[in-house]
Symmetry: C2
Subunit: 190 residues, 2 copies
Protein backbone atom coordinates (compact mmCIF):
# COMPACT_ATOMS: atom_id res chain seq x y z
CA UNK A 1 0.00 0.00 0.00
CA UNK A 2 2.97 2.32 -0.02
CA UNK A 3 2.40 5.34 -2.29
CA UNK A 4 4.94 7.03 -4.57
CA UNK A 5 6.69 10.17 -3.30
CA UNK A 6 4.60 12.28 -5.63
CA UNK A 7 1.36 10.70 -4.50
CA UNK A 8 2.32 11.10 -0.85
CA UNK A 9 3.08 14.78 -1.38
CA UNK A 10 -0.28 15.23 -3.06
CA UNK A 11 -1.99 13.47 -0.17
CA UNK A 12 -0.28 15.79 2.30
CA UNK A 13 -1.52 18.85 0.40
CA UNK A 14 -5.01 17.36 0.29
CA UNK A 15 -4.99 16.94 4.08
CA UNK A 16 -3.86 20.53 4.63
CA UNK A 17 -6.55 21.85 2.27
CA UNK A 18 -9.26 19.72 3.83
CA UNK A 19 -8.11 20.81 7.28
CA UNK A 20 -8.29 24.49 6.34
CA UNK A 21 -11.86 23.93 5.18
CA UNK A 22 -12.96 21.93 8.20
CA UNK A 23 -11.29 24.24 10.72
CA UNK A 24 -12.70 27.41 9.16
CA UNK A 25 -16.12 25.79 8.91
CA UNK A 26 -16.46 24.12 12.31
CA UNK A 27 -13.71 25.58 14.46
CA UNK A 28 -10.31 24.20 15.38
CA UNK A 29 -11.08 22.56 18.72
CA UNK A 30 -14.44 21.24 17.49
CA UNK A 31 -12.90 19.47 14.48
CA UNK A 32 -11.58 15.97 15.11
CA UNK A 33 -8.69 14.40 13.23
CA UNK A 34 -10.88 11.46 12.20
CA UNK A 35 -13.50 13.73 10.63
CA UNK A 36 -10.80 15.77 8.96
CA UNK A 37 -8.94 12.81 7.49
CA UNK A 38 -12.10 11.32 6.07
CA UNK A 39 -12.83 14.72 4.48
CA UNK A 40 -9.48 14.21 2.75
CA UNK A 41 -10.53 10.70 1.69
CA UNK A 42 -8.32 8.85 4.17
CA UNK A 43 -8.58 7.00 7.45
CA UNK A 44 -7.35 8.61 10.65
CA UNK A 45 -4.46 6.22 11.26
CA UNK A 46 -2.29 7.65 8.51
CA UNK A 47 -2.28 11.14 9.94
CA UNK A 48 1.01 10.80 11.82
CA UNK A 49 2.82 9.71 8.67
CA UNK A 50 2.46 13.33 7.52
CA UNK A 51 2.30 15.46 10.67
CA UNK A 52 3.80 15.44 14.13
CA UNK A 53 0.62 16.57 15.86
CA UNK A 54 -2.72 18.28 15.38
CA UNK A 55 -1.05 21.57 16.35
CA UNK A 56 1.37 21.29 13.44
CA UNK A 57 -1.50 20.75 11.02
CA UNK A 58 -3.37 23.71 12.52
CA UNK A 59 -0.40 25.97 11.74
CA UNK A 60 -0.10 24.70 8.16
CA UNK A 61 -3.84 24.81 7.51
CA UNK A 62 -3.94 28.34 8.82
CA UNK A 63 -1.10 29.36 6.53
CA UNK A 64 -2.85 27.72 3.58
CA UNK A 65 -6.18 29.36 4.28
CA UNK A 66 -4.51 32.76 4.61
CA UNK A 67 -2.62 32.28 1.36
CA UNK A 68 -5.76 31.44 -0.58
CA UNK A 69 -7.63 34.33 1.01
CA UNK A 70 -4.89 36.69 -0.14
CA UNK A 71 -5.00 35.07 -3.55
CA UNK A 72 -8.75 35.63 -3.70
CA UNK A 73 -8.38 39.34 -3.00
CA UNK A 74 -5.65 39.63 -5.60
CA UNK A 75 -7.85 37.88 -8.15
CA UNK A 76 -10.70 40.31 -7.42
CA UNK A 77 -8.33 43.19 -8.05
CA UNK A 78 -7.06 41.85 -11.36
CA UNK A 79 -10.49 42.17 -12.92
CA UNK A 80 -10.69 45.88 -12.22
CA UNK A 81 -8.92 49.06 -13.31
CA UNK A 82 -6.08 49.84 -10.86
CA UNK A 83 -7.92 52.82 -9.36
CA UNK A 84 -10.60 50.45 -8.09
CA UNK A 85 -8.23 47.85 -6.65
CA UNK A 86 -8.97 48.71 -3.05
CA UNK A 87 -12.72 48.83 -3.64
CA UNK A 88 -12.62 45.45 -5.35
CA UNK A 89 -10.68 43.71 -2.59
CA UNK A 90 -12.85 45.22 0.14
CA UNK A 91 -16.07 44.36 -1.68
CA UNK A 92 -14.90 40.79 -2.16
CA UNK A 93 -13.95 40.44 1.49
CA UNK A 94 -17.15 42.01 2.82
CA UNK A 95 -19.47 40.21 0.40
CA UNK A 96 -22.41 38.14 1.63
CA UNK A 97 -20.86 35.21 -0.27
CA UNK A 98 -17.76 35.41 1.90
CA UNK A 99 -19.91 35.73 5.04
CA UNK A 100 -21.97 32.69 4.08
CA UNK A 101 -18.97 30.50 3.26
CA UNK A 102 -16.58 30.62 6.20
CA UNK A 103 -14.93 27.35 5.22
CA UNK A 104 -13.59 28.80 2.00
CA UNK A 105 -12.73 32.19 3.40
CA UNK A 106 -10.41 34.19 5.60
CA UNK A 107 -9.24 32.33 8.73
CA UNK A 108 -8.67 35.59 10.64
CA UNK A 109 -12.43 36.09 10.61
CA UNK A 110 -13.49 32.43 10.73
CA UNK A 111 -11.08 31.49 13.51
CA UNK A 112 -9.88 34.80 14.95
CA UNK A 113 -10.62 34.25 18.62
CA UNK A 114 -9.46 30.64 18.42
CA UNK A 115 -6.18 31.51 16.72
CA UNK A 116 -5.49 34.00 19.51
CA UNK A 117 -5.33 30.96 21.83
CA UNK A 118 -3.22 28.76 19.53
CA UNK A 119 0.46 28.01 20.01
CA UNK A 120 3.31 30.31 18.97
CA UNK A 121 3.78 28.61 15.58
CA UNK A 122 0.20 29.11 14.44
CA UNK A 123 0.05 32.67 15.71
CA UNK A 124 3.35 33.51 13.98
CA UNK A 125 1.95 32.09 10.76
CA UNK A 126 -1.21 34.14 11.16
CA UNK A 127 0.85 37.23 11.89
CA UNK A 128 2.77 36.75 8.64
CA UNK A 129 -0.44 36.44 6.64
CA UNK A 130 -1.93 39.43 8.40
CA UNK A 131 1.09 41.55 7.53
CA UNK A 132 0.87 40.46 3.90
CA UNK A 133 -2.73 41.66 3.74
CA UNK A 134 -1.75 44.91 5.45
CA UNK A 135 0.97 45.46 2.86
CA UNK A 136 -1.40 44.86 -0.02
CA UNK A 137 -3.93 47.33 1.35
CA UNK A 138 -1.21 49.85 2.21
CA UNK A 139 -0.17 49.70 -1.44
CA UNK A 140 -3.57 51.12 -2.34
CA UNK A 141 -3.00 54.23 -0.25
CA UNK A 142 -0.03 55.08 -2.44
CA UNK A 143 -0.74 58.79 -2.40
CA UNK A 144 -0.12 58.84 1.37
CA UNK A 145 3.28 58.71 3.07
CA UNK A 146 4.23 55.07 3.81
CA UNK A 147 3.64 55.23 7.57
CA UNK A 148 0.21 56.76 7.11
CA UNK A 149 -0.64 54.18 4.47
CA UNK A 150 0.40 51.41 6.82
CA UNK A 151 -1.62 52.90 9.69
CA UNK A 152 -4.69 53.14 7.49
CA UNK A 153 -4.20 49.58 6.32
CA UNK A 154 -3.93 48.25 9.89
CA UNK A 155 -7.23 49.91 10.74
CA UNK A 156 -8.85 48.76 7.50
CA UNK A 157 -7.98 45.10 8.14
CA UNK A 158 -9.27 45.41 11.70
CA UNK A 159 -12.55 46.79 10.41
CA UNK A 160 -12.85 44.07 7.77
CA UNK A 161 -12.14 41.19 10.14
CA UNK A 162 -14.40 42.65 12.83
CA UNK A 163 -17.27 43.37 10.46
CA UNK A 164 -17.18 39.92 8.86
CA UNK A 165 -17.05 38.20 12.26
CA UNK A 166 -19.93 40.27 13.62
CA UNK A 167 -22.00 39.75 10.47
CA UNK A 168 -21.74 36.00 11.15
CA UNK A 169 -22.74 36.31 14.80
CA UNK A 170 -25.80 38.44 14.35
CA UNK A 171 -29.17 36.65 14.06
CA UNK A 172 -30.90 39.41 12.14
CA UNK A 173 -30.17 39.00 8.42
CA UNK A 174 -30.86 42.65 7.68
CA UNK A 175 -28.51 43.82 10.43
CA UNK A 176 -25.87 41.42 9.12
CA UNK A 177 -26.10 42.97 5.67
CA UNK A 178 -26.01 46.43 7.18
CA UNK A 179 -22.77 45.72 9.04
CA UNK A 180 -21.07 44.58 5.85
CA UNK A 181 -22.46 47.41 3.72
CA UNK A 182 -21.52 50.18 6.16
CA UNK A 183 -18.02 48.81 6.70
CA UNK A 184 -17.53 48.61 2.94
CA UNK A 185 -18.86 52.12 2.38
CA UNK A 186 -16.62 53.51 5.10
CA UNK A 187 -13.51 51.78 3.73
CA UNK A 188 -13.86 52.67 0.07
CA UNK A 189 -14.92 56.28 0.59
CA UNK A 190 -11.86 57.11 2.64
Amino acid sequence: MRKSKHEAAETRKRIVTAAANEFCGKGIVATGLCELMSAAGLTHGGFYKHFESKDQLVAEACAGALASSIEMCNAAECNRPPSQNLAAAVAEYLSSEHRDDPSGGCPLAALGSEIARCDQKTRATATEGFLKIVDILAGHFADEPPDVARARALVAVSTMVGALTLSRIVTDAQLSDEILRQAEKHLIQS
Copy 2:
Protein backbone atom coordinates in the same frame (compact mmCIF):
# COMPACT_ATOMS: atom_id res chain seq x y z
CA MET B 1 -27.17 19.44 51.92
CA ARG B 2 -30.02 21.35 50.41
CA LYS B 3 -29.33 25.11 50.24
CA SER B 4 -31.77 27.96 50.83
CA LYS B 5 -33.42 29.61 47.84
CA HIS B 6 -31.23 32.64 48.31
CA GLU B 7 -28.05 30.59 48.50
CA ALA B 8 -29.06 28.59 45.44
CA ALA B 9 -29.67 31.77 43.47
CA GLU B 10 -26.25 33.07 44.52
CA THR B 11 -24.66 29.80 43.45
CA ARG B 12 -26.31 30.06 40.06
CA LYS B 13 -24.95 33.57 39.56
CA ARG B 14 -21.52 32.37 40.63
CA ILE B 15 -21.60 29.62 38.01
CA VAL B 16 -22.60 32.06 35.26
CA THR B 17 -19.84 34.48 36.25
CA ALA B 18 -17.22 31.74 36.46
CA ALA B 19 -18.39 30.41 33.09
CA ALA B 20 -18.06 33.82 31.44
CA ASN B 21 -14.50 34.02 32.74
CA GLU B 22 -13.52 30.50 31.73
CA PHE B 23 -15.13 30.70 28.29
CA CYS B 24 -13.60 34.08 27.46
CA GLY B 25 -10.22 32.88 28.72
CA LYS B 26 -10.01 29.41 27.21
CA GLY B 27 -12.72 29.25 24.58
CA ILE B 28 -16.19 27.72 24.73
CA VAL B 29 -15.52 24.29 23.23
CA ALA B 30 -12.20 23.96 25.05
CA THR B 31 -13.74 24.58 28.48
CA GLY B 32 -15.22 21.53 30.21
CA LEU B 33 -18.13 21.66 32.64
CA CYS B 34 -16.04 19.99 35.33
CA GLU B 35 -13.31 22.64 35.11
CA LEU B 36 -15.90 25.38 35.07
CA MET B 37 -17.85 24.10 38.07
CA SER B 38 -14.73 23.77 40.15
CA ALA B 39 -13.85 27.37 39.20
CA ALA B 40 -17.18 28.21 40.82
CA GLY B 41 -16.24 26.15 43.88
CA LEU B 42 -18.56 23.22 43.14
CA THR B 43 -18.41 19.68 41.81
CA HIS B 44 -19.63 18.92 38.31
CA GLY B 45 -22.63 16.80 39.35
CA GLY B 46 -24.71 19.72 40.50
CA PHE B 47 -24.59 21.50 37.18
CA TYR B 48 -27.92 20.16 35.91
CA LYS B 49 -29.74 21.40 39.01
CA HIS B 50 -29.21 24.89 37.57
CA PHE B 51 -29.02 24.52 33.80
CA GLU B 52 -30.59 22.34 31.13
CA SER B 53 -27.39 21.98 29.12
CA LYS B 54 -23.98 23.47 28.43
CA ASP B 55 -25.55 25.42 25.56
CA GLN B 56 -27.93 27.17 27.93
CA LEU B 57 -25.05 28.21 30.18
CA VAL B 58 -23.10 29.45 27.16
CA ALA B 59 -25.97 31.78 26.27
CA GLU B 60 -26.28 33.12 29.82
CA ALA B 61 -22.52 33.48 30.31
CA CYS B 62 -22.31 35.36 27.03
CA ALA B 63 -25.09 37.70 28.10
CA GLY B 64 -23.37 38.27 31.43
CA ALA B 65 -19.97 38.96 29.89
CA LEU B 66 -21.53 41.42 27.44
CA ALA B 67 -23.40 43.20 30.20
CA SER B 68 -20.27 43.70 32.28
CA SER B 69 -18.32 44.83 29.22
CA ILE B 70 -20.95 47.47 28.54
CA GLU B 71 -20.86 48.40 32.20
CA MET B 72 -17.09 48.78 32.02
CA CYS B 73 -17.32 51.20 29.08
CA ASN B 74 -20.02 53.20 30.85
CA ALA B 75 -17.85 53.40 33.95
CA ALA B 76 -14.94 54.68 31.87
CA GLU B 77 -17.21 57.38 30.47
CA CYS B 78 -18.49 58.55 33.84
CA ASN B 79 -15.04 59.67 34.89
CA ARG B 80 -14.71 62.03 31.97
CA PRO B 81 -16.36 65.20 30.71
CA PRO B 82 -19.20 64.34 28.29
CA SER B 83 -17.26 65.58 25.27
CA GLN B 84 -14.67 62.86 25.87
CA ASN B 85 -17.15 60.04 26.40
CA LEU B 86 -16.40 58.38 23.09
CA ALA B 87 -12.65 58.70 23.53
CA ALA B 88 -12.86 57.23 27.02
CA ALA B 89 -14.89 54.20 25.98
CA VAL B 90 -12.71 53.53 22.95
CA ALA B 91 -9.49 53.92 24.95
CA GLU B 92 -10.79 51.51 27.59
CA TYR B 93 -11.79 48.93 24.99
CA LEU B 94 -8.56 49.19 23.01
CA SER B 95 -6.28 49.26 26.05
CA SER B 96 -3.44 46.79 26.48
CA GLU B 97 -5.05 45.82 29.80
CA HIS B 98 -8.17 44.68 27.97
CA ARG B 99 -6.06 42.85 25.39
CA ASP B 100 -4.09 41.06 28.09
CA ASP B 101 -7.14 40.01 30.09
CA PRO B 102 -9.56 38.30 27.73
CA SER B 103 -11.33 36.46 30.56
CA GLY B 104 -12.57 39.71 32.08
CA GLY B 105 -13.32 41.44 28.80
CA CYS B 106 -15.61 41.65 25.81
CA PRO B 107 -16.89 38.27 24.59
CA LEU B 108 -17.37 39.54 21.05
CA ALA B 109 -13.57 39.81 20.78
CA ALA B 110 -12.65 36.89 23.05
CA LEU B 111 -15.15 34.46 21.49
CA GLY B 112 -16.23 36.12 18.23
CA SER B 113 -15.56 33.33 15.80
CA GLU B 114 -16.86 30.73 18.25
CA ILE B 115 -20.08 32.61 18.97
CA ALA B 116 -20.71 32.75 15.22
CA ARG B 117 -21.02 28.94 15.39
CA CYS B 118 -23.17 28.80 18.53
CA ASP B 119 -26.89 28.07 18.61
CA GLN B 120 -29.63 30.61 17.89
CA LYS B 121 -30.13 31.47 21.56
CA THR B 122 -26.50 32.47 22.16
CA ARG B 123 -26.26 34.38 18.91
CA ALA B 124 -29.50 36.25 19.65
CA THR B 125 -28.10 37.17 23.05
CA ALA B 126 -24.88 38.38 21.47
CA THR B 127 -26.84 40.36 18.90
CA GLU B 128 -28.73 42.13 21.67
CA GLY B 129 -25.50 43.07 23.45
CA PHE B 130 -23.92 44.18 20.20
CA LEU B 131 -26.88 46.48 19.46
CA LYS B 132 -26.63 47.96 22.95
CA ILE B 133 -22.99 48.85 22.34
CA VAL B 134 -23.87 50.28 18.93
CA ASP B 135 -26.55 52.45 20.53
CA ILE B 136 -24.16 53.75 23.15
CA LEU B 137 -21.56 54.69 20.54
CA ALA B 138 -24.18 56.15 18.23
CA GLY B 139 -25.18 58.44 21.10
CA HIS B 140 -21.73 59.97 20.94
CA PHE B 141 -22.22 61.02 17.32
CA ALA B 142 -25.13 63.17 18.41
CA ASP B 143 -24.27 65.96 16.00
CA GLU B 144 -24.94 63.62 13.08
CA PRO B 145 -28.37 62.54 11.80
CA PRO B 146 -29.45 59.31 13.57
CA ASP B 147 -28.92 57.01 10.61
CA VAL B 148 -25.42 58.35 10.01
CA ALA B 149 -24.63 58.04 13.71
CA ARG B 150 -25.79 54.43 13.68
CA ALA B 151 -23.77 53.67 10.56
CA ARG B 152 -20.65 55.15 12.14
CA ALA B 153 -21.28 53.20 15.32
CA LEU B 154 -21.63 49.90 13.42
CA VAL B 155 -18.28 50.52 11.74
CA ALA B 156 -16.66 51.65 14.98
CA VAL B 157 -17.68 48.47 16.83
CA SER B 158 -16.42 46.37 13.91
CA THR B 159 -13.07 48.13 14.07
CA MET B 160 -12.83 47.74 17.84
CA VAL B 161 -13.68 44.03 17.86
CA GLY B 162 -11.40 43.34 14.90
CA ALA B 163 -8.47 45.31 16.30
CA LEU B 164 -8.68 43.69 19.73
CA THR B 165 -8.92 40.20 18.23
CA LEU B 166 -5.98 40.81 15.89
CA SER B 167 -3.90 42.35 18.68
CA ARG B 168 -4.29 39.07 20.56
CA ILE B 169 -3.34 36.91 17.57
CA VAL B 170 -0.19 38.72 16.59
CA THR B 171 3.12 37.41 18.01
CA ASP B 172 4.97 40.72 17.71
CA ALA B 173 4.26 42.81 20.82
CA GLN B 174 5.10 46.05 19.07
CA LEU B 175 2.76 45.26 16.18
CA SER B 176 0.06 44.35 18.68
CA ASP B 177 0.38 47.75 20.33
CA GLU B 178 0.41 49.44 16.95
CA ILE B 179 -2.89 47.82 15.94
CA LEU B 180 -4.58 49.06 19.10
CA ARG B 181 -3.05 52.52 18.93
CA GLN B 182 -3.92 53.13 15.27
CA ALA B 183 -7.48 51.87 15.69
CA GLU B 184 -7.94 54.13 18.69
CA LYS B 185 -6.47 57.14 16.88
CA HIS B 186 -8.70 56.53 13.89
CA LEU B 187 -11.84 56.20 15.99
CA ILE B 188 -11.42 59.21 18.23
CA GLN B 189 -10.23 61.62 15.54
CA SER B 190 -13.29 61.06 13.41
